[in-house]
Amino acid sequence: MSATYRVLHCLNQFFAGIGGEEKASTAPCLFEGPKGPGNLLQGLFPDMEVAATIAFGDNYVAENTDRAVREILEILAPFFEPLKTEKPVMLIAGPAFNAGRYGLACGAICKAVAARYEIQVVTSMFPQNPAVNEYRKDVYITKAGEDVMSMQESMRNLGSLGMKLLSGEMILPAKDDYIPRGLRKNYFHSQPGATRAIDMLLKKLKGEPFATEYSMPTFDRVKPAPAIKNMGKAKLALVTSGGIVPNGNPDRIAAANAQRFGTYSIEGVSAFTPQSHQTAHGGYDPTFANANPNRVLPLDAVRELEAEGAIGILHDFYYATVGNATSVASAGKFGESIARKLIREGVQAVILTST
């Protein structure tokens, strides 16, 4: 018996079985049938048939998003030719867990495919994945765990929302475990507004929890700090989330979801060398950074500019962590703590580099 719904599945190079970080620049390509997590999807949802799998390198899509998306749309074109029977009815992407580049790719591809081919799309990410904010208004994103350990459960959420969308069932963010899309939709409450208003006011007055029915849009933005008037006199510090650490990673900063940052002296050091430093970051191909750590944290160039007088003085320490799948909450704490140290040391300006 043939499956009810033909779907397309979208995976990065790792989950498609092409390779790890060293294959992160792979251009998009198409495979017939399911790959890796696609098999799990079919197993969990026998009414879905993965017609094809689109695979792409994380970096390829993250770095050239427009081009990559164009290429993927072209690759998919034959599925949507006018005379084609059994056109796919849905694109499913991920789960991308807390991988930022993978998430961005899933979001961009879903958005573009929905617009071009007018099929339903759904993806899955950890709620703090940076791509969530970027794409939640355009695409249904079901909640995934932080990493691959939660594959089974994340895929189940993803597939069940997909099934509901395909069958036109009513869905709600809390019930169906997806990120609210910011779309306001009417419904009839069991109580009139006046009754709800007095109930809410009494709760608010008693200090009990209540849920507003319309949250004010929030923009957590920080006011830009003033410009540095004279860089030639300023004290500059270097900070990186690219994982550049002394060789051997003495603080054992984790390759992903780091729990700490390191403070390292660069007093009298004119440049990083492959012998002195390395990357501890597990989210990108480390070959280039290990060959020349200045490619991630440009100490050599900063020292030259210091010597030329473009910078007053470089702070004797730099601060490093790994931004790979690190939660926004931890990153915020690192930032606060680093900033306190910097202010104590009389630093005025900061260059923060990320991979």
Partner: protein, 75 residues
């Protein structure tokens, strides 16, 4: 991280290759860099050229620090 640093009043520039993420995390001064595995480099270039590229990017970052901005700005 960048937002929390700036919140204390320090002037900070975020150098990264994936601009949308930088915008989402709330950086105000953003300098786009080359690529994820080598933001300040390019293995295809000779050592001299690559060094020059890196220095230019740092100069751009210094310029961003010295420029007054009212909102998120990509340099």
């Amino acid at each position: 991280m960048v937002k929390e640093i700036e919140r204390t009043g320090l002037t900070v520039v975020h150098c990264c290759s994936i601009i949308p993420i930088s915008k989402t995390v709330g950086a105000n001064r953003i300098v786009p860099t080359i690529a994820i595995p080598y933001p300040f480099g390019d293995p295809d270039l000779g050592p001299e050229e690559e060094k020059k590229l890196r220095k230019d990017l740092v100069k751009k970052a210094l310029k961003a620090l010295a420029t007054s901005v009212e909102q998120q700005t990509i340099f």
